[in-house]
């Protein structure tokens, strides 16, 4: 069982030291061995549950929160916006 820890870490935005990588690789191999114990069944077809329909929301506007309340937990705020390191525009 080859698990590409580096690739998964990149996808999950996590960073590991080489020692941690090794540790995680070993632990994940054990866990993956455990979760592979699934029954042999046909798993084709879409994952959808028609017996569980949803009630939709009416298209109505409701305003309950001020900007200050919503940004109160933000690590860095400037000019009414949260701030992140400069991004290359995408």
């Amino acid at each position: 069982m080859e698990i590409d820890i580096k690739r998964l870490a990149r996808l999950a935005k996590l960073k590991f030291t080489p020692e941690e990588e090794e540790k995680y690789a070993a632990q994940m191999a054990n866990i993956v061995a455990m979760v592979e114990k699934l029954p042999d069944l046909d798993a084709s077809g879409p994952l959808i549950d028609p017996d569980n329909p949803m009630e939709f929301r009416k298209d109505e506007v409701e305003k309950k929160y001020s900007r200050d309340e919503l940004l109160a937990n933000a690590p860095e705020v400037q000019a009414g916006c949260v701030v992140v390191p400069k991004t290359v525009a995408e």
């Binding site: 998964l8 935005k13 995680y24 993956v32 699934l38 994952l47 009630e55 390191p85």
Partner: protein, 487 residues
């Protein structure tokens, strides 16, 4: 009489008769907290001032003769992954150490409508990932029966607080056994309701399709009372069911005559300790004495359930926990220049080991090339298991099994072996996978003096049936013995 020792239903009756006030009850619970908290460490945040103020308000309402609900003025503890406006909701993570939600969970709105008093926010495994509350970033909660042992998890703080009299009742959440296993470990009652009966709005998500909020109490009536207060359709959670719910505590029947109880062999098999097996079978035989019949039922292989559970739960968690990126709220690393460095360092520093492991596993099972073999297959296994349960309920009114393979273990005993730790959930996860209600009640003590839990699993929305059966046992046993933890 120490008020903190009493159950919510007893306190409710006394308050209604104006024999005691909510302030007196609340005061008693906080005195108890002051005394026991240094050794138990069940709470992350205490809410004493606001609680006493709320209690005074309730007393005032009562003095004026305003109509009040049975839960009015009862001190309730809240697991720290349930949002209470203005109180931190840390999820026992460094990531959310300073996060204060500007909103209430729907269950809190419902309890507010009942005039409940909140004692504070209870410790848990980080983001509810764990079976011992050891993965909490802040503290280790100790089992009130034996301080060298874990209280179970992830709702370990809730179970320990209720057992030790640090809360009268409490809310927890259960994704794979996180209410039932700690209830079993701490000798209290815990109910994991049918998926869709309690709103998840304001419950910080671990695994959206499995998470469910539920009550802890020292009696079946208390659990029923708290469950009645929190269940119901919520327009803010599309996964809640539209249906009528009774007041469960009003409908108890202890009559077990002719009731068929399913006994799944595989759930008493390998991995289950002899003592736990014996104690749970004793409970089963007690039901026989009351006129119930024990019938063998075939349930899905526990191994299948565990595998499907870890795949689905971790997949959803990897996505649910992606929002903790240091941008909008929560922890942000000091070490970064670029956006990617900020993301990676924030998440690597903010999350603990177990959370990172599960995010990695979830990322793996969803990643291209593995999705079909793991995630999709696990979802189909889930459907298969739902079907097997439906069949079992053709034969039996509910199913009885141990809650956990063993009683509470020592700190550190399972910390280095994840698979061994995950085996703790093997008997509880199937109810989450199949969306079924399941309840754990104490059924005696092992030779170490630790409580064992008996689990009842029912068909969807058969909570009343489970509560009735547990109530019958409680009555026959003369109540659940918490004298050692309440003294």
């Amino acid at each position: 009489m120490e008020l903190y020792r009493l159950t919510a239903s007893e306190l409710s009756r006394m308050m209604q008769k104006k024999e005691v006030s909510s302030v007196e009850v609340t005061r008693s619970v906080f005195d108890r907290i002051a005394k026991k908290e240094p050794e138990i460490e069940a709470y992350i945040t205490l809410n004493e001032q606001a609680a006493l103020q709320k209690a005074a308000e309730v007393d005032e309402k009562r003095a004026k003769g305003e109509p009040l609900s049975p839960l009015a003025g009862i001190p309730v503890g809240v697991k720290d992954n349930i949002c209470v406006k203005g109180l931190p909701a840390t999820c026992a993570s460094k990531m959310l150490e300073n996060f204060i939600p500007p909103y209430n969970a729907t269950v809190i709105e419902k309890l507010n409508a009942q005039d409940c008093v909140y004692t504070g926010k209870l410790n848990m495994d980080e983001f509810a990932m764990g079976s011992s509350t050891e993965t909490s970033y802040f503290k280790k909660t100790r089992n009130p029966f034996d301080l060298s042992r874990v209280p179970g998890g992830s709702s370990g703080g809730s179970a320990a607080a209720v057992a030790a009299g640090e809360a009268v009742v409490a809310l927890g959440s259960d994704t794979g056994g996180s209410i039932r296993q700690p209830a079993a470990f701490c000798g209290v009652v815990g109910l994991k309701p049918t998926y869709g009966s309690v709103s998840r709005f304001g419950l910080v998500a671990f695994a959206s399709s499995l998470d469910q909020i539920g009550p802890f109490g020292r009696s079946i009536e208390d659990v029923a009372m708290l469950y009645s207060a929190i269940c119901g359709k919520d327009p803010y959670d599309t996964t809640t069911a539209r249906r009528e719910y009774p007041r469960f505590e009003a409908g108890f029947s202890a009559d077990m005559q002719g009731v068929k109880i399913g006994i799944p062999d595989a759930y008493f098999g390998k991995g289950v300790s002899d003592e736990v097996r014996r104690l749970v079978m004793q409970a089963a035989h007690k039901y026989e004495e009351m006129g119930a019949a024990l019938v063998p039922v075939t349930l899905p292989e526990p191994d299948y359930g565990l595998a499907a559970y870890y795949i689905i739960a971790c997949a959803e968690a990897s996505s649910n926990l992606a929002r903790y990126d240091g941008v909008k709220y929560g922890y942000r690393t000091k070490n970064y220049k670029t956006l990617d460095e900020m993301y990676e360092n924030t998440r690597s520093e903010g999350f603990g080991d177990e959370v990172k492991r599960r995010i990695m596993l979830g990322t793996y099972v969803l990643s291209s090339g593995y999705y079909d073999a793991y995630y999709k297959k696990a979802k189909f296994t889930q459907k298969l298991m739902e079907g097997m349960f439906r069949e079992a309920f053709q034969k039996a009114d509910f199913i009885l099994s141990p809650t956990a393979p063993d009683t509470a273990f020592q700190f550190g005993e399972n910390s280095d072996d994840q698979v061994k730790m995950y085996m703790n959930d093997i008997l509880t996860v199937t109810a989450n996978i199949a969306g079924l209600p399941a309840l754990s009640f104490p059924c005696g003590f092992d030779s170490k003096g630790m409580p064992a839990g008996c689990q009842l699993i029912g068909g969807k929305f058969t909570e009343q049936r489970l509560l009735n059966a547990a109530y019958a046992y409680e009555k026959a046993a003369g109540g659940f013995d918490l004298s050692r933890t309440l003294d």
